[in-house]
Assembly symmetry: C2
Homo-oligomer: 562 residues x 2
């Protein structure tokens, strides 16, 4: 690494479109890299550099002060960074030949041209509003910025409304939708959640999402999954009902639309910049678009996905911040480290649980024709003997031929971020399951276990890959198999075994071998699959021909849809 | 990976010495790998498979039930694993020629020989008791096993004592010493802590340990650092005072000795097995000793250290468990994956803070003549705008020539385990600082930040390595430097700047450049070093010749010893 060109004193004008996650990061870094540049950041809204990700939490009151969301102000940009941050200024078009942008001052209505040497686009994405009747009603909202948040807060306050908001419908069960569900519930509002996919959190695999659905149900959220929104019933200027594809209508005082975002690519398209297959602006490793003087970052672009080795949109703040930092440096100095491929690592809290994921889900692997297998383990977020251990359900997805880790998902009340971050970190280095078995992780009773859940998942996958203790999927078709349920009878009373299963506690299995047929393909089942692992090894050790362990055990099998 | 030999039905006798972390793990795995083997586990104490790491927490009552510490019983080993777990059986010697061990039944006094095909040693380590007067007094304890814990609990109960325990001295400020300090304090006892080293937690670097010392002081623990224990003042059969090298005597009702452990290598030495340079049993990657039929794992052995590439003792439960698993498999089947090098990743909670580390400290790097630099950053364990963010102080240590990460340390009330585990995971793959800047970590307000503390530390190190924003150590000699303190005047009132510093707020620096000498080597300082980074870049951008940032800022500088 060399200093020579990492900073520059080259006089140049850097213009930035968008003043939040990607744009503001680029601006600040550009200044630190080049004290001589002119840096102008145009933002069409009233605020720059705010915490998008905090918006739902201020609506619910968990973040008490609105000001906390304003991470940096135009004044700070001016004083600390000599960055000219112009709010209420919309960039209308780009003239690549002239190297200038056409800008409109939304306050005065005035339009002007601004020259640039380097242009950085970070215009973000816009909420998708379905083209249905009533979507413009006064109490139908989406949430992207401070102004949206203020509008929702206004809609919720009884002073400004014609009536109290007692019930609300959230449309879309992605990350933001679920955050809104929780925050509205926190305000004492009865919340219904509508999602077209047959599950919440579509990036998760079905059974993992099911655990989150149970948490929502526990908080009396009305789930309408696998059902689309057909229209809104409007009275006056207000929506009073949401009509679903299934025909049912949900009464409501407020609607929040969280059905996803579309990248803001209008400027790029108008300028003829290349657009990728998934609809984002195409960029290279230095965040340069097809015009090397124009950079693009954030929700409007396509990043390289580390596992798929394909470009795709990843509308998350981490990549936007990191990409902004690199683009800012490159625009200021014509050199920088390259942008690393992303993994799609994401997390969301849903009431007392959280859901986190990285890399590919099994669903996504199937979609992209990648061979994948998976294991599911359950273990405490720290030692079970230490008070307060919360169960983590951890799914590890790997390539059967090579053992390369493809992805992971975790659900739990604590410690899921750590496990997913550890696995995402290992995945950066193309880790195999074997590598994960070897991780040297910190352990003391308040923090972890001598064998971490990551180790247990990796051991289980390793055992499968080596044929030592083959795994079958939680939803495997068990017809024609010899099924051995090794739970205690008490457990089997609480949660009945699958039909036709032999009921033999693991500790008595060796005494009952003669009741089983060693020639028949056999599946061993317990609650979490840990004792079934012991059972699997006992049967294989006694010459059974083909034995496997139902991953996740009954605790996951019970989540199967009927 | 191939199944063919990963399990075996070879008839053989596997004998295991020690029935806790390493031994019990080896036994259980050996059975899963070989259903036909005879497996005998000798444990000289009354209990097998207990949670050593939980012992302090039961003494303080944080783990309420003693039974929770008994992870598995001899009955479970018999029923589930057909393992003959024999407590109160001490292995006295090994006859390699005859492949047998001499065993003493400590209940009956009877001695007998037990043949083995494979022998696994996991005898652990023993607390060091200093050879001083009074160390055998009735109220002087050490803590290694359940029986020690029971004795301490007995010593603490007023019924059994001649008087209430009002004050106690813990000797040794390592992990277990600090856990004991906290738990005794929890019982309302006035605690003094004596440590020969000039700091608590000797594996940490001085300034990081200082943050833990402050936490101890905040809880009114009397610290006696850099002071050895010379003797005990004994009255009758009880120690009533601890005399230190400095001459002072601390009155006490109870003494706990936590000055470290020595590996239990007697059996190995007697058998002529090779011992390594640091006094542990020498092993290969399959945990085989110099006699390939004898394996050794746990606190008694030397593991390969991933960063030092030398063998050393790492007396921790994670490696013991993982090594036991591998040794058990290899002993049962003659093959297994190899044991990975360890990193020394460790963690401890100390009242409301925790301390975690992995890899090399700067001290240790110096000791082993490894060139090392470091940065210290401070940031919230999740977004600052979300309620409840706790500050993490994170130190990242790296090789200046290559940027390879050598180690990390973290202090904080939450989230330190995640950051150290992420870095330890990256280090397994010989990650550079650059790699850490690229990690795709999970982010939502309740869990993290778009730029994680790991990213910030990596950015800072990257900036240093590239000469973009050079770092000087927190305790650098500032004599002859031009010092610019860019904190606000209010901050400077609270915590005065270093003598002779210019006091110019970062936001006004550009207006005051002419007061400074651009030719003079300059150090910029703020509270955490984040604004000083901006200041450093401003000065370098205006042609200052040599500018650097005092890492950690005043918040760490203030911890310097006078
Ligand atoms: C409610 C909510 C919660 C979220 N939670 C999380 C989370 O927990 N974790 C996570 O990783 N991500 C989260 N995100 C996503 C994250 O905020 C985005 O990925 C990130 O902000 C993208 O950065 P960006 O710079 O591309 O877009 P933005 O941050 O949206 O900034 C784009 C800006 O450009 C402006 N702009 C657009 N066009 C023009 C123009 N022509 N002229 C001038 N200005 C223009 C827009 O007004 C906008 O302010 C959340 C987003 C929302 C809305
Ligand atoms: C109080 C305490 C707290 C700890 N906290 C942590 C922590 O938070 N994190 C962490 O990673 N580590 C911690 N450790 C360390 C961890 O417990 C050890 O690293 C681990 O137990 C080592 O495993 P081992 O099998 O080598 O030894 P042990 O678990 O000690 O087992 C060895 C056993 O062998 C028996 N034995 C010895 N010689 C013979 C013989 N000749 N015949 C028969 N039996 C014999 C002993 O009686 C002993 O029971 C802690 C240890 C203690 C004591
Ligand atoms: C805040 C914002 C303007 C970026 O400002 P920034 O100065 O680049 O970023 P940060 O405040 O995180 O500071 C990071 C910089 O300080 C440096 N730094 C941080 N701590 C440091 C320390 N202790 N010592 C030295 N340098 C340090 C980092 O190295 C980095 O500088 P670099 O990029 O030159 O390497 C921009 O990220 C933003 O607008 N964020 C809010 C919007 C948003 O991100 N929304 C989505 C998430 S809610
Ligand atoms: C408990 C003890 C006896 C080891 O028993 P063990 O059966 O090897 O270990 P665990 O109970 O952790 O279970 C791990 C096994 O179950 C498997 N497993 C766990 N969850 C599973 C799941 N959901 N599906 C399939 N397999 C699973 C693992 O793969 C592993 O089996 P493997 O080694 O054959 O791959 C031993 O570790 C011990 O005595 N511990 C207490 C002492 C101690 O460690 N002290 C220091 C720390 S306080």
């Amino acid at each position: 690494m060399n200093n020579s060109k990492s900073a520059s004193t080259a006089k140049r004008t850097i213009v930035i479109v968008g003043g939040v996650a990607g744009g503001a990061s680029a601006a600040a870094r550009a200044r630190r890299c080049n004290e001589a540049a002119d840096i102008i950041m145009f933002e069409k809204d009233r605020y720059v550099s705010f915490a998008n990700c905090g918006l739902p939490y201020h609506i619910g009151g968990e973040i008490d002060e609105r000001d906390k969301l304003l991470v940096a102000t135009p004044e700070l940009f001016e004083k600390r960074f000599r960055i000219d941050a112009r709010t209420r200024h919309e960039v209308l078009s780009i003239d690549q030949e002239a190297k200038s942008v056409q800008v409109k001052n939304l306050e005065s209505g005035e339009e002007f041209a601004q020259d640039y040497d380097r242009l950085i686009l970070s215009p973000g994405a816009s909420p998708i509003i379905p083209p249905i009747e009533g979507s413009k009603a006064k109490n139908v909202f989406s949430l992207r910025n401070i102004e949206d948040m203020d509008r929702i807060n206004q809609g919720l306050s009884s002073e400004s409304s014609t009536r109290d908001v007692k019930q609300a419908v959230v449309v879309g069960a992605g990350f933001i939708g679920l955050e809104m569900v929780e925050q509205l519930h926190r305000l004492g509002i009865k919340v219904s959640l509508v999602e077209l996919a047959p599950q919440v959190l579509p990036p998760l695999d079905r059974e993992m999402a099911r655990l989150i659905e149970e948490e929502l149900e526990r908080h009396e959220i009305q789930l309408h999954l696998g059902d689309g929104i057909q229209g809104l019933k409007v009275e006056g200027d207000r929506a009073v009902g949401v009509t679903l594809d299934s025909g049912m209508t949900i009464d409501t005082d407020l609607v929040i639309m969280c059905i996803g975002v579309k990248p803001n690519t209008q400027l790029a398209k108008q300028a003829g910049l290349e657009i990728g297959e998934t609809g984002g602006i195409k960029i290279n490793e230095y965040l340069q678009t097809s015009d090397p003087n124009i950079y693009a970052v954030g929700d409007a672009v396509e990043y390289e996905h580390a596992i798929l080795e394909k470009s795709m949109r990843v509308a998350l703040a981490g990549p936007a911040n990191r990409a902004g930092r690199i683009a800012g440096e490159h625009a200021a100095t014509d050199q920088s480290p390259s942008m690393a491929a992303v993994m799609g690592t994401a997390i969301v809290r849903v009431f007392d649980l959280g859901a986190a994921l990285t890399g590919l889900s099994e669903k996504m692997a199937a979609k992209f024709n990648r061979r994948a297998k998976s294991v599911i383990v359950q273990a405490g977020h720290h030692s079970g003997y230490f008070p307060g251990a919360k169960t983590i359900t951890l799914k590890l997805i790997y390539e059967p031929e090579t053992g390369v880790v493809l992805g992971a998902q975790a659900i739990g009340a604590a410690g899921i971020d750590k496990r997913i971050d550890v696995i995402a970190t290992a995945m950066k280095f193309k880790a195999t399951v074997e590598d994960l078995t070897e991780l040297d992780l910190s352990y003391a009773p308040p923090y972890g276990s001598a064998k971490d859940p990551v180790h247990l998942a990796a051991f289980t996958a390793q055992n499968d890959l080596r044929g030592f203790a083959p795994i079958v999927a939680y939803d495997a078709d068990l017809a024609g198999k010899q099924i051995v349920d090794v739970r205690t009878l008490k457990e089997q009373e609480k949660l009945p075994p699958v039909p036709g299963a032999y009921q033999i506690e693991v500790d008595e299995l060796r005494e009952h071998l003669d009741e089983l047929d060693p020639e028949q393909p056999t599946v061993v089942i317990c609650h979490s699959a840990k004792r079934a692992h012991v059972g699997t090894r006992i049967l294989l050790g006694h010459g059974f021909k083909e034995v496997s362990n139902l991953t996740g055990g009954m605790s996951i099998r019970r989540l199967m849809e009927n």
